[in-house]
């Protein structure tokens, strides 16, 4: 019988699997999210300036809430727009 490595598969076996999402705050040990610097917060909002959901950003609940609070503070201080289009 043909052993496993003789068989030539038509397609790459792990083509469907996606990279494991992780919470960047826990992994890199970031403890404080600064509402004063918009570049960092820009990664968590979409093109219309809305806060991205956790399933997209992969954040843990604790840090997603802090990101949301920081984004709202940044909006209050006009670092980030409340609503816009083609932000990125």
């Amino acid at each position: 019988m043909a052993s496993r490595d003789d068989i030539k598969f038509l397609s790459n076996p792990n083509i469907g699997s996606r990279a494991k999402k992780y919470c960047r705050f826990k992994k890199f040990g970031i403890k404080h999210i600064d509402y004063k610097d918009p570049d960092f917060l820009m990664q968590f909002i979409n093109a219309q300036g809305k806060v991205l959901p956790r399933r997209i950003t992969g954040n843990s609940l604790k840090y997603q809430k802090r990101v949301a609070i920081a984004i709202k503070r940044a909006r209050h201080l006009a670092f980030l727009p409340y609503v816009t289009d083609l932000l990125k």
Binding site: R24, F28, G29, I30, K31, H32, D34, Y35, K36, D37, P38, D39, F40, R73, R75, H76, L77, A78, F79, L80, P81, Y82, T84
Partner: protein, 157 residues
Amino acid sequence: MRQYEVTFIVDPVLSGDEIKSTAKTYSDMLEKEGAKIVNVDEMGLKQLAYSINKRSSGIYFCIEFSIVEGSVIPGLELALRRDERIMRFLTVRLDKYGVKYNDDKRNGLIGKVVKAKEKEEKKEYKKGRANKPAAKAAPAPAPAPVATPAPPKSEEE
């Protein structure tokens, strides 16, 4: 000693020294109330993400201070609200991570705030793992510099 941080935007149409004096009035007021000013950070003229009462840019100030009792804050906010040179303000209490973050940022630990913060942690993370193989790599580059200076002399003669 609780640490607070008040960020406010000053109207850009004022003259330079008036802007400075606005920031000064608030840091002096805090000092009079017994607060210890940790840092007054002038972020300078910035474009606003949306226009605030017909202005599209503003001068950002951020005063960090620590006080014993918090009853000073309502007085500060009342003054900020009354002052028409201030377009917008926000007072926030800092937890210990916030205080540490601001200190790191001041003495340059966090160079470019966005990536450096993650890179910095990643480097430590890698350094922990990499110091075993690094011992072998160190002696290898030593002989290389000796070889390079020799050839240029021979070309001159």
